[in-house]
């Protein structure tokens, strides 16, 4: 599965980058959300994949060897929450931007005007 997941992550990153390069500010935010997803998945996959053995200690002999690595999961949880905060902020920022400037065209952001 690693190979498929790698492709999936590549596709997600690619999509995110493509969306970030659009002129519409909505797509920009979408791109940020995609980046977050792609990265969560990347942390998950890069840390090693273990099927169906969540990291709860149940006093089963030998469980520790089979168990999924809990650390990447903890990292992802932290990362998800952080990107939730930042993305929510970005969303409101975009909203505020639109209500002040009445445009969604990023090309009108030029600072040399």
């Amino acid at each position: 599965m690693l190979f498929l997941f790698a492709i999936l992550i590549g596709v997600l990153y690619g999509a995110a980058v493509y969306l970030l390069l659009r002129r519409n500010i909505f797509k920009l935010v979408l791109g940020l959300i995609f980046l977050g997803h792609a990265t969560n998945l990347l942390l998950f996959v890069a840390g090693g994949l273990t099927r169906g053995f969540p990291s709860f200690l149940r006093d089963i002999p030998g469980e520790v060897e089979k168990m999924a690595d809990p650390l990447p999961q903890a990292l992802i949880l932290t990362a998800i929450v952080i990107s939730l905060g930042v993305t929510a902020f970005a969303l409101v920022l975009v909203y505020r931007f639109y209500s002040v400037t009445k445009t969604v065209d990023l090309d009108e952001l030029s600072e040399n005007e």
Partner: protein, 137 residues
Amino acid sequence: MESVILQIAARHMRPLLVILSLVVLYRGHNEPGGGFIGGLMLGAAYILYAMAFGVEKTQKSIRISPVALTGIGLLLALVSGLPALMEGHLFMTGEWTTFFSGSSFELKLGTPLLFDLGVYFTVAGMLTLVMFSIMEE
């Protein structure tokens, strides 16, 4: 959005969700759950209420502002690191005590739980703060 059904649902769901969130919070140390998920549930309870009765009324019924809730959460998380110092350990070292240490049931309380409670409040505070602001807009 003054829907009667929603109002009834919200009124009854709220205490339920609050209790559920506390359970999730406590369970989290051993089973799936934890402060973050619990906090989201707590927040959801009040957001539901606010959707039914409006933000202002909800605010009144909680008596504590979301900002304060966030602050309390942060403070709790911070304070949970202090007992360790009194024990002469390093900051944020987990300190545990056991209540009712029977054979079948025991209630273990420790500073990591307090910390998780801080997470719980912060998340709930953040969620309600954001949603209330947006809903008021």
